[in-house]
């Protein structure tokens, strides 16, 4: 199957399909999405009613559909770990402050985890399949698997799949108290240099239009495979899963031009990637991405966008640090991510 189009709102200038020529740098442990002018994509009256995550999700989806030149997709599937945090926090705050009285429904209505997929469906008057996955670091992978299965089943000829997660003041305060993030005024571009505990918080909205058939226009890439594994016991089980994934697709590490890895700057968390770069991926060029988008449960959607974009041009953007040769044309990429040692995922994308 093919990745025909993408739409990506992230802490980098990724919206509008421009090449990643300069990187946005942030100070501190919280990256924020660079939001577009929504008026181009959403009716002004609707923009006002939508909370930030809904706007980001809907705009990324609309940009993706525009690029694919598809008005109404055959299915809409979203993944979000936290859902609409701003609306949830707002309704809860009022509920506590006013002791369960004088509440209004808007924030509650928009707090449900399927709101973004539903809003996209509503705007497009799309009566088709509409689903929402909410499983922590597997939210995007589950949504993608659902979409891939729909295509395999020949139920649809295209699907819109996306992942959305936002940081709010409340969620950031709580996650920070849990000890997830680095402290101090560190730049996101330097997170791999400090070798300290913790990562930096990120967010994003990335959508993909997947299709059974190649398009006459240029597709980004072929999506050849996806695999997830849950709570592996140790490095051996991780390696076994990666080996099985490569074997399932009849390739070896020698056939991979680039491995995009989900290092997030946390020394403990990154140990897995460092071990793999000594073993399975010892001969492969690797590229980090969480210095660009931060860490969040659906960050792998940013990685898939990055991988698909690199395949489309055949090169790693000049602004990115990368340990391979920029001369080589990149035709096949494996993305390996893990979220908090619990949710591990592998993606395989290749040139059309």
């Amino acid at each position: 199957m093919y990745i025909r189009a993408t739409g990506n709102i992230s802490p980098q200038k990724t919206f509008g399909h421009l090449p990643l020529t300069e990187l946005a740098a942030y100070s501190g442990n919280r990256l924020a999405c660079i939001e577009p002018d929504y008026k181009e994509f959403i009716d002004v009256k609707q923009i006002r009613r939508m909370s930030r995550i809904i706007r980001m999700g809907v705009a990324a989806a609309m940009e993706c559909l525009q690029e694919a030149n598809i008005k109404v997709p055959d299915a809409i599937i979203t993944g979000t770990a936290y859902g609409c945090m701003e609306d949830t926090g707002s309704f809860m705050t009022k509920m506590v402050e006013f002791n369960e009285e004088l509440l209004t429904p808007t924030a509650f209505i928009q707090s449900t985890h399927n709101t973004i997929g539903a809003q996209i469906g509503l705007m497009l008057q799309c009566n088709h399949y509409n689903n929402a996955f909410v499983h922590r670091g597997f939210s995007f992978e589950s949504a993608l698997l659902d979409g891939m299965m729909l295509l395999e089943e020949k139920e649809v000829s295209n699907v819109l799949v996306g992942a959305i997660d936002e940081i709010t003041n409340i969620s950031h305060t709580i996650l920070n108290r849990m000890g997830l993030y680095k402290q101090g005024n560190l730049s996101n571009l330097d997170i791999f240099k400090t070798r300290s505990k913790g990562t930096i918080a990120g967010e994003g909205a990335a959508f993909f239009l997947l299709a059974n058939e190649p398009s006459a226009n240029e597709d980004y890439a072929k999506l050849d495979g996806l695999k997830t594994f849950y709570k592996p016991a140790g490095i051996k089980e991780i390696e076994d899963n990666i080996t099985a994934f490569l074997a399932q697709h009849s390739i070896t590490t020698g056939d991979i031009d680039l491995v995009i890895i989900g290092k997030n700057g946390d020394v403990m968390s990154d140990r897995i990637f460092e071990q793999l770069s000594q073993t399975i991926f010892s001969k492969n060029a690797t590229l980090n991405y969480k210095n660009l988008c931060g860490e969040y449960p659906t960050a792998s959607a940013f990685a898939l966008w990055l991988g698909a974009s690199i395949i489309k041009t055949g090169t790693v953007p000049a602004a990115l640090e990368y340990n391979g040769s920029k001369e080589n044309k990149i035709k096949r990429i494996v993305i390996y991510n893990h979220y908090q040692h619990i949710h591990h995922s592998l993606f395989l994308v290749s040139a059309c």
Binding site: F133, V134, T228
Partner: protein, 400 residues
């Protein structure tokens, strides 16, 4: 012909019982689960009846084996999912590719609420252990880990159709040869967040709900969990107890009309039911019983009823809303009602739609008012519709 997916086991906990046999007994004896709030607390305690699981958090924890610090949502989930798995009696489970696909609407919100009141007064306060399982996926993982399920674990949340979607996603994982066994369904506990949310929408009934009644006033919220164990044909052949049912049809469609309201002609519901029939290769007249979404709100029941009229007229199957027993359990409702649908096929029974006084004037059919037994039920349609226009229908068929 697509490969059949069998239902090998069922498990449930709801306001009318903490296992399948207690729930069946309550259904047969018309014992509804609504009442005053005993375990759950809210400012609205004297005004709004709810359908609580009749166990305190401590008693639930004793029953589930999880620490009592964990969300009620996870406790309910584990109790019902474990019952389903034991019922299925799969001996060589560890050698099979097994998944746990669960659904819920607000994750560990019951604990988050506790945290949040303190957190608001001072951002350094509130116990983190009460918010650490806030995410919907967390309850699923707590249960999967207890059940020893590791091959595939995920969570779906499409409001009130969540667990119907979990069930059919599970069936598709089997049909796509990704898994052999799937425990699928959903769970939700009562929370202030949801109760107050529904209250702002003014769709909660201050009396016991009366779905499909001309004078219906709204819904009663409930809590619980319901799971079924889905297995491939190959696994089914190895079981000592022959599975009673298959999941023969399913469809997910979107009403695309309004974020919370259903379209007057029930377009989404119509598409979901029609799609499920098509998937199952059945005609409307083949359906013996419809387990209605039937929330009791003005809007849902006329939309669902109109869609049924469009699709089934003039051959109406027996119909009832078991939410008249369990209340609306939101993310759990599709799972709980899937269990009731399978039991209907298994035992040849159809449940009453309690408290019906005046049938809806605009609909040409009547819902069941009595418990019926000793009849043959071959195909059951189960409807689950939710906010965001999410409409899903499942069809369960008797294994002949």
């Amino acid at each position: 012909m697509e490969k059949p997916v069998f239902v090998a086991g069922t498990g449930i906990i709801s306001a009318i019982g903490k296992n399948v046999s207690e729930c069946l007994d309550a259904l047969e004896n018309s014992k509804a689960g609504m009442g005053h709030m005993h375990f759950f607390d809210s400012l609205h305690r004297d005004k709004l009846p709810v359908a609580e699981v009749k166990l305190s958090n401590d008693d639930l924890a004793k029953l589930s084996g999880l620490p009592n610090t964990k969300s009620r949502t996870a406790q309910l989930s584990l109790i019902a999912a474990r019952e389903a798995l034991i019922d299925a009696g799969i001996e060589n489970l560890s050698s099979l590719r097994t998944g746990f696909i669960s659904a819920n609407s607000v994750g560990g919100m019951d604990k988050t609420e506790k945290f949040f009141a303190e957190f608001l007064s001072d951002n350094n306060k509130g116990r983190l252990r009460d918010v650490v399982d806030h995410e919907c996926g967390s309850a699923t993982e707590l249960v999967a880990d207890q059940l020893g399920i590791k091959d595939y674990v995920t969570t779906i949340s499409t409001a009130c159709s969540s667990s119907a979607n979990a069930i059919f996603f599970g069936a598709r994982l089997i049909r796509n040869n990704i898994l052999d066994v799937v425990v699928a369904g959903g769970t939700d506990s009562l929370t202030k967040f949801t109760l107050n949310g529904f209250n702002t929408l003014m769709i909660l009934d201050e009396k016991f709900c009366q779905p499909f009644d001309e004078n219906r006033r709204g819904l009663n919220l409930g809590e619980g969990a319901g799971y079924i164990v889905l297995v491939s044909e190959k696994v089914a052949a190895t079981l000592k107890k022959r599975p009673a049912a298959t999941l023969s049809g399913y469809c997910n469609a979107n009403d695309a009309y309004h974020q919370t309201a259903s379209s007057p002609d029930g377009n989404g519901s119509f598409l979901a039911m029609n799609g499920a029939l098509k998937k199952a290769g059945l005609q409307p007249a083949d359906i013996d019983y419809i387990n209605l979404h039937g929330t009791g709100t003005q809007n849902n029941d006329i939309a669902e009823g109109t869609a049924i009229k469009r699709l089934f007229d003039p051959h109406y199957p027996k119909m009832s809303s078991t939410k008249t027993f369990t209340g609306h359990t939101l993310g759990a409702s599709g799972g709980i009602e899937a269990v009731f649908s399978v039991l209907s096929l298994q035992h040849g029974i159809v449940y009453p739609n309690l408290r019906l006084e005046t049938p809806m004037k605009d609909l040409p059919f009547n819902v069941e008012t009595k418990f019926t037994k000793n009849i043959e039920v071959k195909h059951v349609l189960s409807n689950s519709f939710g906010f965001g226009g999410n409409c899903s229908s499942l069809i369960f068929s008797k294994v002949l």
